[in-house]
Symmetry: C2
Subunit: 390 residues, 2 copies
């Protein structure tokens, strides 16, 4: 079947706050072909990504993504690989391309799955999807007291793993960070996995990270995530060598090569990949395969909708040993309403990848209309993008 339309929808909460919560806006991609439609979500700046799809060509290696997608054939997995490669070749000098491709690629897998009446993980070659232990991913409270309350609440909700991140952590005093860490551990109790996400707060500064290692160890941190900017291989490696706390990272990778470098040279033991950023399910699966070879645990990165969650789970759904997954628990209403079906933790705090065709998540278009942001882009007095009908 031939791709008939590719549409982008920028959605936003009425107010976007200056906090580390990526669920405050969304960029959805709808691709139609053969009477079916597939949906994907970019974990990316919506307006910037839309511009990258429609922009006029700059030169042969800086073409709009439209060039590689519109009107192309979609009948097999190979067709998706072809489109992915074409974007990499024809838009290699367009930096935003990988973020935009991510939502497109996810929508293509969803669409192909629907056509072939197969879940995406099967199209990827997995025979079975294993349940994953959901870690409740949330922001630190503004104070240790708030964090403690959040931790208690999460434990009571039945989660067996919890992650706190961003917020004040790493930015104020070491004493405050230590208090935050202990509040988190005391709130969840001794028997639950605790992960800490530094949200790149120390840039490339190893000393700042090292000062928190003892406290992280004291509270039995399962991993310390993103101490540094994505790709700061040397800083990661030095900290990994000095630390008995395992490191996690990789969510900022926007192509395979960056993830490969993290796997080979950073010393991380968990690689966290967001299919909505790295170029979609196609690229994420390649990273999952390499992680198996390197004996590094693959984990999804997801802080947005259940559509994005399903997409980010597919690439490692069939890898039994990679048992843990990020599960966002503080989604804004926009992100909650994107998917009609919910992926909910069941027994033992585990979640299951949907067994339906494609990604198994239908997009609730009527509920979303209220979040739609009207955008119009004109170049040389010609409208090149206008928010389409949802």
């Amino acid at each position: 079947m031939k791709i008939e339309s590719v549409d982008f929808f920028y959605m936003s909460m009425p107010e976007v706050l200056d906090i580390g919560d990526g669920s405050q806006d969304a960029l959805l991609v709808r691709i139609r072909a053969g009477g079916l439609e597939g949906w994907g979500e970019c974990e990316a700046s919506p307006l910037t990504s839309i511009a990258s799809y429609y922009t006029p060509m700059s030169h042969s290696a800086c073409k709009p993504l439209k060039y590689s997608v519109a009107g192309k054939q979609l009948n097999s997995v190979d067709d998706i690989y072809k489109i992915s490669l074409s974007v990499h070749e024809n838009s290699s000098d367009l930096l935003q391309a990988d973020h935009t491709l991510s939502g497109i690629d996810i929508a293509l897998w969803d669409l192909l799955g629907k056509k072939l009446e197969t879940p995406v993980y099967e199209l990827l070659g997995y025979k079975k999807a294993f349940p994953k232990l959901a870690y409740a991913s949330q922001l630190f409270g503004d104070t240790p007291e708030e964090t403690f309350e959040k931790a208690v609440k999460t434990r009571n909700a039945g989660y067996k793993a919890v992650k706190f991140g961003w917020g004040p952590f790493g930015k104020t005093s070491i004493e405050n960070d230590i208090a935050q860490l202990h509040a988190a551990r005391e709130g969840i109790g001794a028997d639950i996995y605790l992960m800490i996400d530094a949200g790149t707060v120390w840039n490339e500064n190893i000393d700042d990270a090292q000062k928190r290692l003892n406290a992280l160890k004291e509270v039995n941190t399962y991993w310390l995530e993103e101490p540094f900017f994505n790709g700061a291989l040397n800083a990661y490696k030095k900290l990994a060598d000095a630390s008995s706390v395992k490191l996690a990272g990789g969510e900022g990778c926007n192509n395979f090569m960056q993830a490969q470098a993290m796997l080979e040279y950073s010393g991380i033991q968990f690689v966290q990949i967001d299919a909505g950023r790295i170029g979609g399910i196609t690229v994420a699966k390649r990273v999952a395969d390499l992680a198996v070879q390197k004996n590094i645990t693959y984990v999804n990165h997801t802080f947005t909708s259940h559509l994005a969650l399903s997409a980010s789970l597919q690439p490692y759904a069939g890898i039994e040993k990679d048992f843990i997954c990020e599960y966002p628990v503080e989604l804004k209403s926009l992100a909650q309403e994107i998917g009609e079906e919910k992926i909910l933790p069941g027994n033992e705090g585990k979640i299951h990848v949907p067994e339906k065709a494609g990604l198994g998540i239908s997009v609730n278009t009527s509920a979303l209309k209220k979040y739609l942001v009207d955008v119009e882009i004109r170049v040389k007095n010609k409208v090149i993008y206008q928010t389409p009908e949802l």
Copy 2:
């Protein structure tokens, strides 16, 4: 002084062809403060970069670049470092940010240099700017005969170094590539440096590259450039280990960490940095410093205007041993007309960084009006960008 305005100008040739010539459009940045103005050029998709500066915030780490630049103080070199760091912290999830920052950072250095009446290379800590041997950078001809003619013409123009790249090279048969290489060498003669730019044509495929090594050696290639996608560390390293032809790469790096990884793990002997892509002069200088430590030769990457050329030369202007520089010789009229002053090869085919304040290149606004592309971006029915007056 306080930054009063930051304006973006998208310019384009009337027709943009599907060829590897980045001079067919341009994105200029004009920053005004204290009665002065500085200019920079992004080597980037213009519309996408403009969107990234003005887009609404998505979350705390995905803010528009405007947040880190508009209204900020600019009195010292430290103020530029602060703005650069702020963009990296506040826009770390906005992929296009580094390309957009590049032009902004260059304009800031130009503006500060004008205020302090000092050339940029001096602000960077260099006492002297050494002349660089200009290699005439151009596309292969469509046929070996055309390449031969181009080579003869370039030799006759007095150049002592020549690079051919892109076009059909690597895409058709090995025989054709061999014919192209010999045509290039025969045209320029035995006594001139010859560089070959594969323009990432082999993606990550080492075999395709290896098949050309003998021919590259036969024609005494000074370096083979970008055989693979930027950041394909393993492919680079394997080819470097197997090859007596030195490798060059790095133009696609869009932050310091990527360049650092290339310097440490790829086996390249020349690192090519485009200040218009990597985040500006600030980041490029940091790479130049690391390259000195690693004993790897730093080379500018420039395929656009002389404003961009001056910007890309500054970061290594004071490093005497890094003697060679890219010099575009096939600029479209747009790129030719951007700078009023020209950086022209003199004796022995060498060029000099301008000794005037800032970048030493004035922008010829009246000549450029004809290339200006009208753009308007509306979000929620409010105009967030409209092409400003030049």
